[in-house]
């Protein structure tokens, strides 16, 4: 282990001297050799100021329209593209990133429970996850932050971290946060040769971000860096997922309820429940592209409308989604289930959540209640 240190130091020094160091600002990032992710996050040099999540030049922050719920964790997302490479822009799908790309996602909570926050950011960082595009596919890693917020170390086996924070209603919340093991990353991101990114797609990225000069469209910004292989259509002609909980200020007024709910289940469920998802065999499809936005029983089973579950019921209910009746819908039963008292196997998603996403459950319930009622076969 020790002996490799000088070699690595030397190679990064050489990069600075002879490589693209002078011309490309991204050169300060020091990717590890394939298959040998560093033991600490600092060695990658992604951040000028990691505890405050200030990225190096060339590491581009982004946000998504519909976010994954992870026990109310706050998230910071970044993309590092190797110098001279281009991203394949996809109007519909997840973008096609070149080998060498690294996507970074930090999970944090407000640091507002005891004493003044340790950092200017005011957050307690818990873990920073990476997806690294190696020549044989995407590799997941996570780095766990220490309490002092001075260092993050690679952790492959997962951990349970007690976390408390004061939420927006002034309530102190305490949870046992689950850092997934490397194996568990695959449960949502796919396994083996089919490991994939989930967030960076046009519908998720088509939104504004302040890169320092006021709000700017993220995709336009990325295009202006010369990172895309083609010129994307203008922002208003791109697929855009609505923000699930934004009822007011979307351009042109709030997005319809059904679309916001569909964006929510796309972000939180579709990586398993879609034709290409890990649980496609249950034929419950919750991705943005599945059938109509406001389904009826006639649309078939794809959104779970009047679909009898196979193994996993919930609370004795009969159908995954009963239009017009959220309370009778297994879908709602399973996303509101918390174990105990519910059987742990009832909880959806089955990992990444230990408490209820109250706003999410309310949104999905409101959506189902708003559908034209169906008796699901004369129930």
């Amino acid at each position: 282990m020790r002996r490799t240190v000088p070699i690595l130091a030397l190679s990064s020094a050489m990069l600075l001297l002879f490589g693209c160091g002078a011309s490309s600002p991204s050169s300060s990032v020091t990717p590890a050799p394939e298959g040998a992710a560093y033991a600490t996050l600092a060695e990658w040099h992604f951040f000028k100021d990691a505890p405050n999540q200030v990225p190096e030049d060339g590491v581009v922050p982004y946000d998504v329209n519909a976010r994954l719920f992870t026990d109310y964790a706050l998230k910071h997302r970044f993309i590092y593209l190797p110098p001279g490479k281009k991203i394949g822009y996809e109007p519909d799908e997840v973008w096609d990133f070149p080998v060498g790309t690294i996507v970074i996602k930090t999970f944090a909570y407000p640091d507002n429970v005891s004493g003044p926050p340790k950092t200017a950011l005011g957050e307690r960082l818990i873990e920073t996850r990476l997806f690294i595009h190696e020549s044989d596919g995407w590799k997941p890693y996570t780095y766990q932050w220490n309490d002092a917020q001075t260092e993050a170390k690679r952790l492959d086996v997962g951990d349970t971290v007690p976390v408390s924070w004061v939420d927006k209603d002034g309530q102190t919340r305490s949870i046992q946060y689950e850092i997934p093991s490397q194996q568990q990353c695959f449960e949502c991101h796919g396994g083996g040769t089919t490991t994939r990114l989930l967030g960076p797609r046009t519908g998720e990225l088509n939104r504004d971000w302040d890169y320092g000069a006021g709000p700017e469209n993220q995709i336009d910004h990325i295009a202006s860096l010369g990172w895309l292989d083609k010129t994307p259509p203008p922002a208003d002609q791109r697929i855009t997922y609505p923000e699930p909980f934004n009822r007011s200020d979307a351009p042109g007024g709030p997005a319809p309820l059904a679309e916001r709910a569909r964006a929510y289940v796309q972000a939180n469920c579709a990586h398993c429940h879609s034709p290409n998802g890990n649980v496609n065999y249950k034929k419950l499809y919750l991705d943005w592209d599945s059938t109509a936005v406001a389904p009826t029983a006639a649309d078939g089973l794809s959104l779970g409308v009047c679909k009898h579950p196979t193994s996993g019921g919930c609370g004795g209910l009969q159908y995954d989604l009963v239009p017009g009746d959220a309370e009778e819908s297994i879908l709602v039963c399973r996303i509101s289930a918390v174990s105990p008292p519910a059987p742990a196997a009832d909880m959806m998603p089955p990992l990444g959540r230990t408490i209820e996403d109250k706003e999410g459950v309310a949104l999905v319930s409101e959506w189902i209640d708003s559908m034209a009622p169906s008796m699901c076969g004369g129930r």
Binding site: Q182, Q183, G312, A345, P350, G377
Partner: protein
């Protein structure tokens, strides 16, 4: 009934020979396969931390050895990208290598990488499935899955759960207390389930939406339903076909059904020995079927659950993606004893005014006509299992076969299902003993059954299903 059953026990082998019934038994019960591709251990786990680290570090074709002890992982273990991995306890006594998942959400072990072997471990107390393999090839040998609290709805749903597989062997293992099926094979092709002990689950062994399954030498008892061949709507593979249940001991499956309300198996009547639902080409032979209070064998259409729904006041779910009828079911050469003596509530309601049923209930639940000669009831229901070539031989000399009543055709068909050659899946397995009449290696029926004439079917009283009865 008992006298006949005893007769059968005594003369079973002889009759098998005399009537040319395929005997695909192989010699490898109790076989001890080798220690995996590598023989030795690449990584050895001695405590929980090193076990979790082993699953994180394991590379393709490596073996993780687990020393005797009790391990308490704090999260689900898995192998997602390394292929050809073997995980094995180092003590052949599986109860000495305990993986206790109490309080951990998720499954015990979840495998999505291809070609996985698990041996000599005891997996306990998982909140979801004990071990799940969603891959092509897997081998489970000498493992145990159980829950300390005993049978309980809060237990994980499945014990051993290979799914989407194309080659699987589950053998010499024990599963108990699962709140769905103890040992499940679903959406698989080519699965061998042999020499296991499966008890006190809602369903013991379940073959669901699969093609080519060979289930033999298992002892299956104290479940609500013992062995099930089941077709479900709403899954990828839309048929359940070529299923062979042979030489199993299926007894006392009278446990109360403790499944999650609303799940498919929550409808399985307690007291069911073997159940065939919506499946095509199923052979049930050489089994001992004893003391199952609702019925020894229940052959029904996949919409029978819908039927129960009608009785309980709700309609059946839509099933447009499957053929719900059980077809080409062949039941013969089994030993029957004391089945159907005290049927489950719903079946009893359907059977009224009779208070007992029979060894075999055919085609649905009611009406069935008791066959005085054989003491075996059968009958067609709304499910229509009748309108095909299914047949049931109460004894092989007095054959009873069914044709298509509508067309009047009574063609005799050879309904035997070829057994699977374990060597196709596990090259190190001993070859199957050349069975009478069927070549397991090529899966071809070599000796046709002797030509016979179909007996005139007994008249089944016309009955219409009257909802008001319910």
């Amino acid at each position: 009934m008992t006298k006949r059953a005893l007769f059968w026990t005594a003369t079973f082998c002889l009759l098998v020979g005399a009537f040319g019934v395929a005997g695909c038994s192989d010699s490898n019960s109790g076989e001890k396969p080798d220690g995996g591709m590598n023989g030795g251990c690449d990584i050895t786990a001695t405590d929980t931390m090193s076990l979790e680290q082993a699953f994180a570090d394991v590379k393709s074709n490596q073996t993780i050895c687990i020393e005797p002890g009790t391990y308490t992982p704090s999260r689900q273990l898995g192998v997602a990208s390394a292929t050809g991995v073997t995980v094995m306890g180092t003590d052949p006594d599986r109860e000495k290598v305990v993986l206790d998942f109490d309080g951990v959400s998720g499954k015990g072990i979840f495998i999505t990488a291809n070609d996985f072997t698990l041996k000599n471990v005891w997996i306990k107390n998982t909140s979801d499935n004990g071990v799940e393999a969603k891959n092509q090839k897997s081998h489970f040998d000498n493992i145990k899955v159980s829950w300390d609290r005993g049978p309980d709805t809060m237990n994980g749903r499945y014990g051993i759960y290979p799914t989407h597989c194309s080659e699987t062997i589950v053998e010499n293992s024990e599963v108990t207390d699962a709140s769905d099926a103890g040992l499940y094979v679903g959406q698989c092709t080519k699965a061998i389930i042999r020499n296991n002990k499966v008890h006190t689950n809602v369903a013991g062994i379940e073959v669901e939406n699969s093609v080519d399954a060979d289930v033999y030498g298992n002892e299956v008892f104290d479940n609500a339903g013992g062995i099930l061949a089941l077709l479900e709507s709403g899954l990828d593979l839309t048929k359940n076909e070529n299923v062979l249940f042979r030489d199993n001991n299926v007894h006392d499956n009278n446990h109360v059904n403790f499944a999650h309300a609303g799940s498919t198996v929550s409808n399985v009547p307690s007291g069911t020995g073997i159940m065939v639902l919506g499946s095509n080409k199923v052979e049930i032979r050489g089994n001992t079927v004893k003391n199952n209070n609702t019925a020894g064998v229940l052959v029904v259409g996949a919409n029978v659950f819908g039927l129960l729904d009608i009785l309980t006041g709700s309609a059946p779910p839509p099933q447009t993606d499957i053929d719900p009828f059980s077809r080409n079911v062949y039941i013969h050469g089994n030993t029957w004893m004391d089945n159907g003596t005290s049927p489950d509530f719903l079946i009893k309601q359907l059977a009224a005014p009779n208070t007992t049923t029979a060894d075999v209930l055919w085609g649905g639940i009611l009406p069935y006509a008791p066959n005085a000669d054989s003491d075996i009831g059968y009958g067609d229901l709304l499910t229509g299992a009748y309108a095909d070539s299914s047949r049931f031989d109460p004894n092989d000399d007095q054959m009873f076969c069914l044709g298509d009543p509508a067309s009047g055709s009574r063609t005799y068909m050879d309904l035997r299902i070829p057994c699977l050659n374990p060597q196709d899946i596990l090259p190190t397995a001993p070859p199957p003993v050349t069975p009478v009449g069927i070549d397991c290696t090529t899966r071809i029926v070599t000796t046709p059954e002797p030509a016979r004439t179909c007996a005139t079917p007994p008249t089944v009283p016309e009955q219409t299903f009257d909802q008001s009865n319910g």
